[in-house]
Symmetry: C2
Amino acid sequence: MTTITVLLVDDHLVVRSGLKALLGTQPDFDVVAEAASGEEALELVEHHSPAVVVMDLAMGAGMDGIEAIRQLRQRNSRQAILVFTTYDSDADIVRAVDAGAMGYLLKDAAPDEIFAAIRGAVQGKSVMSAPVASRLFQQLRNPDEVLTPREAELLSLLTEGLSNRELGQRLFISEATVKTHLAHIYAKLGVETRAAAIATAIRREGMR
Amino acid sequence: MTTITVLLVDDHLVVRSGLKALLGTQPDFDVVAEAASGEEALELVEHHSPAVVVMDLAMGAGMDGIEAIRQLRQRNSRQAILVFTTYDSDADIVRAVDAGAMGYLLKDAAPDEIFAAIRGAVQGKSVMSAPVASRLFQQLRNPDEVLTPREAELLSLLTEGLSNRELGQRLFISEATVKTHLAHIYAKLGVETRAAAIATAIRREGMR
DNA sequence: AGCAGCATCAGCCAAAAGGCGGAGAGACCA
DNA sequence: TGGTCTCTCCGCCTTTTGGCTGATGCTGCT
């Protein structure tokens, strides 16, 4: 039986402790280091070269989880990266996978699920919590509902409460174009007003 | 030295484990039970009568933390209740204190801070994390910015994306009244459009 | 070459939202 | 009792938003 070295990355001490205690019950896991921020994670990966990095996405100040994953990937490191976070927002999932995450777990996952995900990750298997998988699945089935990059950009600004005029100025496009984009966004999100679009975006797409 | 019995309430296993491990390092703490939901918390308080209940506010499905606190208080139980959560939204803080919480800690609090809060709580002292205290303080200094109950109710519905007409129907008031309330809400939140109000509400007031 | 998707813009019109001032009823408190 | 909040409502007017139709240039794919 090979020992799997693990680096934990989470800005909350209690979560790190809990995860460490949990992984400690398994003979094949060895938590070699813990990081409280993205920056620290990059450093510690250098020093310890863990087989798996278990990382939260939300990370208080500084570099967030997504950015940390991206940078780890760029440094040609061969760690398997597992996302371990509270929310299953569409945007986060897509961005994490895009950045190079091997799996995506929710914090309310059962211990066995977590163990299986880590063991799978070192073997190159992709494991994710059921709600996460179902969201990804839905996106694949309904590609019509996926926002274009420009639309996503607009939606992001929309959640700051800007008016059509302000959106146009910010993006250097006419108000007419803003309206066109908005109409498409509403259709894709299944809403009819900007108010509902903002609510949906912040809650469902995780645009906080 | 008296032993302080503690009940942990959090829907995330890792958080409970971490907190338990953390409290285990102190000789005067004894975690006598753990609950994963508000309902379970009420039961376990009956059976164990812990001196302190450490409780998360967000609790997946079912009864949330605020409601659990309220019900505990109604049952004339003498437990000190400590909120231990991730967010420091204005609304949550006020509602938790209102429901009868003794203290309010953030999950990124230092261990010593957590220990001190628990020990203080059994002695009737109120302890809260610095960011939480600062928010409460600000509310006291600017009472003009505190929403009335009705306004808060309206704002909550607003974040669902309802139109003025729908708001009126939902609350059994005229559209004119809705507009009046909205104008007051905008002024208090420091915004000028409903879009910005929604954004502010969801992000700052934690109305998800 | 042709077609689909994306981003850009226009005009027109109806509906919704927002700003302004004013006002009455009930609750609560000094 | 008088003052202050809070909640309720009105009218008028301007601005903003949303629905609809249609159009252009670009890219990428077939």
